[in-house]
Amino acid sequence: MYITRQPIAVEAFLKEKPSASYGASVHFIGTVRNHQDGRSVKKLYYECYKSMADKQIAAIIDRAKHTYGVNRIRVSHRVGWLEVGDVAIVIEVSSPHREEAFTACRAVIEEIKKKVPIWKKEVYEDGTSEWIHCSHTAEVTS
């Protein structure tokens, strides 16, 4: 649904136009950078608990629509092996006005980083590799 193992077709994603009633579309494109904490990154591997990740992203989208009053949010997150420069995630938030679109887009990417079961292993130029620890703030809902 939101998770793909295929390269993200960014141009096709951007071409899909929202309704004429929306005056603002904010896009976030996350790519693989070549460095992390002073180390040269060669490539990385995203592992995923796909069924749960899709559910979590759907919940994040619903919350953001409700909280910020935006009309349309699309997300595509790539998993598997990615090279430096590859697109890892694209997000589109569309709404009648720009302010809520910017705010909601920022909120969506921050929540995805904290709450969606996706893990990242960085492989460095020196041949070593490491699972990256980000924050861990998911809410327990039951």
Partner: protein, 81 residues
Amino acid sequence: MIIKVLFFAQLKDAFGVGERTMEAREGTTVSEFIQSLFEETAVARLKGLPMLYSINEDFVDENQALRDKDTLALLPPVAGG
């Protein structure tokens, strides 16, 4: 009762598999189950790893009791996006 356990990232590396089917006593909580799981030598070094847990794809508290045929996932710190 039978529990399916899912491992990801460094836990998958340490356990050597992504999934295991295991037996558990009726009423066992997530934390009790995890405690026995981490007694295995190969994964003892990861005992202090901060983790979240999900049962059947919903986040749960570690005091949650497991039920027959539950799928328990051990979720190390995430890093998507």
